[in-house]
């Protein structure tokens, strides 16, 4: 009960902070929009090729926009030494980590919904809306993977002078399996032949999420205490 109560209190506080400061979400949404516009200019996206390009473009936008936002949520703990509230409390490091993963996941999912709607409007690709219930599962699993890895490394990098620069270098190589799983599952949902199932890639996402979660739970305490 204490674990759940503490986790919920931190998530509630993070959402309130974001609602007031609008830092993480506004940065993520702005960057996602910017990246979509850049893709629109750089790649000749037409109604014939939008289906084959959508999954790749979307997941690249999710990864790059997401990492910026996750850096912000760990910074809120560092400002004014606020993390000391957590250290001198009944909150376990595991509970603190899980709470941060959940907060980041919520912000990521909000950004992803916005990105998908922007994609539909920019590229006139309504299939994304129609397939959204099926897309929700790889989105959730992939975002969870991003959040698990990103939360860990955002705390590691905020302790460094070049934190915001280092973070993508640490984050992106590790989320490659999540990216591959997410892109492949999304592609099958959007373009797969009848009967083709994204289940194999969803399993890959589940395995990597669990693996990263297990490793991160061990490492997080050391990172925060350092």
């Amino acid at each position: 009960m204490r674990f759940a109560g503490n986790t919920l209190a931190i998530v509630r506080k993070d959402i309130l902070l974001e609602f007031r400061g609008k830092e993480a979400l506004s940065i993520m949404i702005f960057l996602s929009l910017l990246l979509l516009v850049i893709f629109n200019l750089a790649v000749d996206i037409q109604s014939e090729n939008v289906a084959s390009l959508a999954s790749g473009i979307l997941w690249v936008v999710f990864a790059f926009s997401g990492i910026l936002g996750m850096g912000k949520t760990s910074l809120s703990e560092r400002d004014d030494g606020a993390y000391l509230n957590i250290l001198f409390s009944t909150v376990s490091m595991e509970s603190f980590y899980i709470a941060k993963v959940i907060s980041n996941l919520i912000f990521l999912l909000l950004m992803e919904v916005f990105t998908i709607l922007s994609f539909v409007i920019l590229f006139n690709y309504e299939r994304l809306i129609r397939t959204f219930p099926a897309l929700a599962i790889p989105l959730l699993l992939g975002s969870l993977g991003f959040s698990i890895v990103g939360t860990l490394f955002s705390f590691l990098s905020t302790g460094s002078r070049f934190g915001e620069i280092i973070l993508p270098f640490l984050f992106l190589p590790l989320v490659v399996p999540v990216l591959i799983g997410g892109v492949s599952a999304t592609d099958i949902i959007l373009n797969g032949s009848p009967g083709e199932s994204p289940a194999k890639w969803l399993k890959v996402l589940v395995v990597f999420d669990l693996l990263y979660l297990f490793i991160s739970l061990i490492l997080f305490r050391h990172i925060v205490e350092e």
């Binding site: 506080k13 902070l17 030494g81 606020a82 993390y83 000391l84 509230n85 250290l87 409390s89």
Partner: protein, 226 residues
């Protein structure tokens, strides 16, 4: 309540603390004086468990990993600037000891001159108000051991007196305080025992009755910084 034995700390090759011994008993206020750079903050961080000593040990009764019985306040206030005064307190209580202590919140906020500003974001408060709020959190924390680094910093004379009264109440109720300050007059008013750090060593350790304010003033004036 708290025992520091032969504490040593080096930053690189530079020794900051050299075999410091100190103890704070239940219901006692230990005041630590020292010039800038004498090692007071380092000693307090080690006592609170947020910095490991290079040598020596820190002991307090019970589970050494349970820091929820300690209230530590360093130079920073550990507040979330975007949240209001009340939201900061509620979050602090949520992760510390539940909601059972919220009944006297109005009285305590009024005592610290913060009731009128309870719905204002912390970032809109003056430095003195932020310090008062940070200290107030300690008073409602239910902690048994208070480790406070320059608690009077930024407070005018009225609030210093209020704070001193509250420290006396904590002592009367069996709480222990380890306080570092450069304000000799205020420190001598509240101390049961006094320590003076000089160049990382405890140069002076006396009961208050034997440690005259004038002697400490003189020692601090004549101390040559390393």
């Amino acid at each position: 309540m708290l025992r520091l034995t032969d504490i040593g700390k080096t930053y690189g090759l530079r020794p900051v603390l050299k075999g410091v011994n100190a103890r704070v008993e239940k219901g006692e206020i230990f005041v630590l004086f020292g010039h800038n750079g004498a090692g007071k903050t380092t000693l307090l961080k080690i006592a609170a468990g947020i910095m490991p000593p290079t040598k020596g040990k820190v002991e307090f009764p019970g589970n050494q990993d349970d820091r929820s019985r300690i209230f530590y306040l360093g130079h920073r206030n550990s507040l979330y600037g975007e949240l209001t005064v009340l939201e900061n307190i509620r979050f602090f209580l949520d992760i510390r000891n539940g909601k059972e202590r919220t009944t006297n919140l109005r009285e305590t906020l009024t005592d610290f001159g913060l009731w009128q500003r309870r719905n204002d974001p912390v970032k809109a408060l003056s430095q003195g108000m932020k310090r008062r709020l940070a200290l107030m959190k300690g008073l409602i924390s239910g902690a048994g051991l208070f480790i406070l680094d320059e608690p009077f910093s930024g407070l005018d004379i009225r609030w210093k007196d209020t704070l001193i009264e509250r420290f006396m109440e904590i002592r009367k109720n069996g709480g222990s305080l380890l306080i570092a300050t450069h304000l000799v007059h205020e420190g001598c008013r509240i101390a049961d025992r006094i320590g003076l750090l000089e160049n990382g060593a405890m140069a002076f350790l006396e009961e208050r009755e034997r440690a005259a304010e004038a002697i400490i003033q003189e020692r601090l004036k004549n101390e040559i910084c390393r």
